[in-house]
């Protein structure tokens, strides 16, 4: 039903002038590419490289707000894919209550990396995106197109 994913890499998509976050499951049998904008990609890249920026970035502020009141990110889930748009949920725990909040996957991933929360994907989402077209597109990419973040 649901698979735990790791951020496998971050790459530039020259055809669409955007970035792609590559999620893979633990067995590395499934892959989920998610297209994200440049600011979101930078934020994810800072978290992957554990770069501390002089001033807090937007997702650092999110974490700081959660930290200051003692709320915790339990997990984030890439929950749906509709009309080429991915949907995600951020699951928070605060004072013994659980909250599920609608988010873009890019924000959810950027926050998960900063809070060390696990990232999950609904298997239905992985199945939906596994079109031949996409596989072909990815096969045409050279290894050096991929980022250096080996999971």
């Amino acid at each position: 039903m649901i698979a735990q994913m790791k951020v496998h890499g971050l790459m530039f998509d020259p055809y669409n002038n955007t970035f792609i976050v590559i999620l893979r499951d633990e067995e590395q049998s499934e892959m989920l590419p998610i297209w994200v904008g440049k600011p979101e990609a930078s934020s994810i890249s800072f978290a992957l490289e554990e770069v501390t920026t002089p001033r807090p970035m937007t997702h650092d502020l999110m974490k700081a707000v959660l930290d200051v009141v003692g709320a915790k990110v339990i997990s984030v889930v890439i929950s749906d894919l509709k009309d080429n748009t991915y949907y995600a949920k951020v699951h928070l725990m605060y004072e013994d209550s659980e909250y599920s909040i609608d988010a873009r996957p890019s924000d959810a991933i950027a926050l998960a990396l900063r809070t060390k929360a696990p990232i999950f994907a609904n298997e239905e989402v992985i199945r939906k995106q596994a079109s031949d077209e996409l596989d072909q597109w990815l096969e045409n990419l050279k290894p050096e197109d991929f980022g250096k973040y080996e999971a």
Binding site: R55, T58, H59, V65, D102, A103, D107
Partner: protein, 157 residues
Amino acid sequence: MEQSGLKELTKLTVHGVVADPNTETQIVILRDEQTAQILPIWVGAAEGNAIKLAMDDAPTPRPMSHDLLRSMMEHLNLTVSRVVVTDVKNNTYFASVHLLSQGTERTVDARPSDAIALALRSNSPIFVTANVLQQRGGNSLETWLEKLGTKNTSAGG
């Protein structure tokens, strides 16, 4: 202490966001409605857009980063009582977000761009310390824009 602190603060409104013709950054123009004094703050393109979207009240198909932050805070019953542009050092501006959680106020360090983007989305007041206004405030928007070499106010206040 809190009272005397507030006295030294000036309330500002977001007057507009303009593109800096010399760099790829954007400038958020904060304005004191009483004196018409302005405070320009340079922000990145993404942050400038986040502020513009909030000013225009433009709904996006999916929640943007600051919408997510506001949404998380709403779920957790946290309110933004105010944001304050607190300091400027070596051309870097500092801000703080004041949160109310069950009657307790907490303060979180933020970049002014994030603080302003959040304040606009939560209808919270924006303040600046006397120190920052003294150092960086300008008298008139027109004079300042002329100096900058642009009349391109892309968003009105």
